[in-house]
Amino acid sequence: MKLNELYQTIILEHYKEPHNVGELLNADIESRGYNESCGDDVRLFVKLDDEKKIDEIRFKGKGCAISQSSTSMMTDAIKGKTIDEALLFVDSFKSMLKGEKQFSDEGDYEELSSLKGVLEFPVRVKCATLSWNTVRNGLLQFKSKENETTKVATTIHDEE
């Protein structure tokens, strides 16, 4: 049944107890994502270490089970990556959610592949991608500002 695929236990667990929730006061990157059609709103805080690796990442915001769990898993998976690694990782995950790439359940993607049920619910895909687009925007903006350790607040809407 499609619904069981969508609402796998692991997703509901992340929904009920999401990881990495909160704010970071001295974040290097702050990025906000907003899905106008449903009101989902996510704010991401990223702290980089000296080697520009993601040292800490937190998020705030209310949303549906899909968006909350996707965000929670994303923050787990992205920690420790460099900016460029993280960007590649985001793009690769987005390709999977577009159905352009097979979901892999190896390595970093293991948990994340529980989100593949979303493919059967096209209208929910943006719930799953919201935080990924948000972190991507933040990382890109940070790069374009040439690594100045400055806060960038970007808002995206309703993407893909």
Partner: protein, 410 residues
Amino acid sequence: MFNTEKIISDFPILQRKVNGGKRLVYLDSAATSQKPLSVIKAMDDYYRLYNANVHRGVYSLGYEATEAYELSRKKVAKFINAQTENIIFTRNASEAINLVASSWGRANFRSGDEILLTPMEHHSNLIPWQLIAQQTGAKLKFIPLIEPGILDIEQLPQLISEKTKFVSVVHSSNTLGTINPIEKIISHAHAYGAKILIDASQSVPHFSVDVQKLDCDFLVFSGHKMCAPTGIGCLFGKTELLDAMPPYMGGGEMISEVQLEFSSYREIPWKFEAGTPNISAAIGLGVAVDYLSSLGMYNIRQHEIELTNYALSVLQEVDEIEMYGPTENRGGVISFNIGDAHAHDVSTILDEDGICVRAGHNCTQPLVRWLGVPAVARASFYVYNTKEDVDALAASLKKVQEVFSFAAAK
């Protein structure tokens, strides 16, 4: 008598099966209603038989189109007890409000003037006033809300004064179902010389509205929520106000004499209808009005009251449900949440059973914020809905609970 079986058979889409053979249970008529065959056919006939531009052609086809278009205006006028020339066709309720805010507002608002609204307005009756307030220096004020989602009209005397130039209030809330005491608000407004607009988007489709009895200055609604096609809405305005207002848009049809440097405009209602109108949808609206009249607005209201009361009592039994809005004197709209489940997830799970409910803020962000929740799910009823639909909703909500297994989590 209200023969729902017959009514359902009037709506082709309700014969459709969804998600592998499931009956379509459409509970989102507050967003847009379904269309009866007579309306669909009226549009079809127009394009197959007498499509031509209006107010322009001397030839018979053009005359037929013009007559049909203007006949619809007459029907709509009669439906809300207005004069024909006071009915302006717009794209939707939103455009009608923008027209008034922009044309009346720009001509009349001065810095420091006050516009009185409520926190339960649809974005369409909020943003246009924010925009014109920014441009003119007018200020927005709001009639506060009290539990369980009604206006605190005791505060009207403190809120309305000579400074109040305009009041704009929703008749029936699309999120809470609250039917506002607009008669009182209208007389308060008029006592201070303020003009008042009624957003009747959720009332004109559902019960009888009489603009003369109400004595409102403006009233707006959308066709697509009352069995008519998309792309047609109405503005009612009093003659002396419309006459004095500058045109909203310029273009063909709305002019009288045109020189390169200046122009004079046609009389109302045409002064406000620039360019080729949505002829087919206007004709469809006339047929929709015929359809609703044939059912009887009184009967429609009774049917919805019955259904809403039934739904309130059935849904109450659903575990962990929270419903919003008053229990009495309300329209057929029920917003709710189930435990920790997000409205989107609720909607997705119901959809698997062929049940369409809205999820989100229903274009009323400030109101949903006031409710203190991130989103709501909303079921709304119309002429073709039945107790079986309500039962299907209640049954499917059990699945939501299974998926989110609150019991286990507690």
